[in-house]
């Protein structure tokens, strides 16, 4: 019987990286949905009250989670969006729409094409 070297236990870093990669893929649909909601919210200024609270929550959640996956620039965009949603009077016209589009670009998640 030959002795096979045992596979070393993955390090904490390796385990974390593997989990993060898996979670990113798993949550892409949720992320796309959140971005779609943000698009809807910023399509018209001022943001409809019904959408504003949802936009705040989404921006807050994104600012707290995107950095886990290495998306630090996207985190900063989400933070600025949350600030502008919470303080609408401080937002320059079109700024939130621009930032939402930049968020998509940064995450490489383009909008879905319109259905015919």
């Amino acid at each position: 019987m030959s002795d096979q070297p045992s596979t070393p236990e993955p390090s904490a870093l390796e385990k974390t990286q593997a989990l993060l990669a898996s979670l990113w893929q798993r949550n892409l649909p949720t992320l796309r949905q959140r971005l779609d909601t943000l698009d809807q919210a910023v399509a018209v200024e001022p943001i409809a009250p019904g959408l504003l609270n949802e936009a705040i929550i989404i921006a807050h959640k994104l600012s707290g989670s995107l950095g886990l996956f290495g998306h630090h620039h996207a985190t900063e965009i989400a933070r600025e969006l949350e600030h502008l949603f919470r303080n609408p009077s401080s937002a320059a016209p079109g700024r939130t729409k621009f930032l939402t589009q930049e968020l998509r670009t940064t995450l490489a998640l383009p909008e879905a094409p319109p259905t015919a």
Partner: protein
């Protein structure tokens, strides 16, 4: 072995935080997806600390914390709030809560255990031996 309860409505956050604390520090991790569930688990399991999200649907972190403070069985368990940094928002809004600490998201999974240990004065956060 330290036992820590993580309360967060976001699955990702719970999973990453739990893995990082287990893998890096060897702690035993309990999780809950809401304040109400967290309170039930805390009463039943008596963790050494609670790491709790601020923004949760329904009952948020600060409200849950106040309930915990008014529940003798768990009032003395240290609670650390976890929240995304918000531009221009005065973090002193949490100052009257008397929580053990405010930690910010996104956190570094590899140093979260050290942050918690430093705040709580734990000196035994060595990885568990297998």
């Amino acid at each position: 072995m330290r036992r820590v309860l993580i309360i967060d409505d976001e699955d990702d956050i719970r999973e990453v935080a739990a893995l990082s604390l287990e893998a890096v520090a060897g702690w035993h991790i309990l999780t809950a997806s809401s304040g109400a569930e967290g309170i039930d688990i805390a009463i039943a399991e008596q963790p050494d600390a609670i790491l709790m999200d601020v923004m949760m649907p329904g009952v948020d972190g600060p409200t849950t914390f106040r309930t915990m403070q008014n529940t003798p069985a768990i009032a003395k368990i240290p609670v650390l709030l976890l929240t995304a940094k918000v531009q221009g928002v005065d973090q002193r809004r949490f100052a009257d809560l008397n929580v053990a600490a405010i930690l910010f998201k996104p956190f570094d999974p590899l140093t979260l255990a050290q942050q918690i240990s430093d705040v709580l004065g734990w000196r035994d956060n060595q990885p568990a031996t297998i």
